[in-house]
């Protein structure tokens, strides 16, 4: 079962780790440590959840533990940053003005590097859902299983993540234009 996990799902797990951590070296450490914990606490694994999802849950938890410990400057894992969330009418209005610019920029293939750095800057919860949904193509059910939350939470978190992404992407584009 564990060998199957490594042989069939290590790529998926590694992608998750790499985009979550933003570096290959950290991703490797996260994978190894998570695997170590998975084996060590095998009795905590509930077999009704697919093992590959559970392994991602372990990785995600370990990553969050590390973030909380190191306090890398994130305000909170859950609290949306002001203006990223509902209620920001002004931000929405301003956003509409350059919505076309954003659209055009995102359609260009060369934008990949910017997209990657924008993703890296997002709060961990937002990063995690965007990686799983958009980069790895997981459905809401699978994401809910990894995050151990409801489908409604996945839905609203993805929406908030996309707004946060939009906002940061816009900022990047602005600086690119200024330079």
């Amino acid at each position: 079962m564990i060998e199957k996990l490594i042989n069939e799902y290590s790529q998926q797990a590694y992608e998750f780790a790499v985009h979550l951590c933003g570096s290959a070296e950290e991703a490797k450490e996260l994978m190894q440590e998570s695997f170590f914990r998975l084996i060590r606490h095998w009795d905590q694994y509930d077999a009704s959840q697919p093992l590959e999802n559970y392994f991602m849950t372990v990785m995600r938890n370990l990553y969050y533990d590390g973030i909380k410990k190191w306090d890398r400057g994130f305000i909170s894992l859950e609290t949306p940053v002001a203006g990223e969330d509902e209620g920001s009418v002004l931000a929405d209005a301003l956003a509409d003005e350059d919505a076309e610019d954003l659209q055009t920029a995102l359609e260009r293939r060369e934008v990949s590097e910017t997209v990657r750095s924008v993703l890296e800057e997002l709060a961990p919860e937002y990063k995690a859902v965007l990686i799983m949904s958009d980069m790895q193509g997981l459905g809401y059910n699978e994401i809910a299983s990894v995050l151990d939350c409801s489908l409604g939470t996945v839905r609203s978190r993805l929406w908030r993540a996309r707004n946060a992404f939009k906002k940061k992407m816009r900022k990047h584009l602005y600086y690119l234009r200024v330079e």
Binding site: Q32, E86, L106
Partner: protein, 147 residues
């Protein structure tokens, strides 16, 4: 229905995760709302842009290390370890047990120039702090295992 109430649904629709009733509702709204149509298009483009970001292949040495770890687990005779008390007692029992049965279980770790004492010290701290183990310990333990 107002645009604001539909924003979250737009995002779910882009993911193909809206229910059929929601789809009916949303499509009717999109019909007469260019702003929401633009927003939906943006979400879809964002998804494509994210999908295009390259993901590196899992390094061969990492995969090999995980397989080796899995194999080690399989060959480990641990029934009585499971009965050992958790906490300090567990670590002491673990230390004694390792010394009693010899160090062949840690051959690979020793081969990587890790002393059994250091291993056990790390393990001791690790066992005390599990499952909510501070990251420094995890990392020091990890770096020892990687060294």
């Amino acid at each position: 229905m107002e645009c604001r109430e539909l924003k979250e649904l737009l995002s779910a629709y882009a993911d193909g995760q809206a229910s059929s009733e929601e789809q009916v509702l949303l499509l009717a709204h999109l019909e007469g709302c260019p702003a929401c149509r633009r927003e939906l298009k943006l979400f879809q483009t964002m998804k494509t842009a994210l999908r295009r970001v390259c993901s590196p292949a899992v390094p061969a040495d990492l995969r090999a290390a995980l397989l080796a770890q899995a194999a080690r687990r399989r060959s480990k005779p641990t029934p009585w370890l499971k009965r050992a008390p958790v906490g300090v007692g567990f670590s002491l029992a673990f230390a004694a047990a390792v010394l009693a049965i010899g160090v062949e279980q840690f051959e690979s770790r020793q081969a990587d120039s890790i002393s059994v004492d250091a291993m056990l010290a790390a393990h001791n701290e690790y066992a005390l702090t599990m499952p909510l183990c501070p990251q420094e310990l995890v990392l020091s333990d990890l770096s020892m295992r990687l060294r």
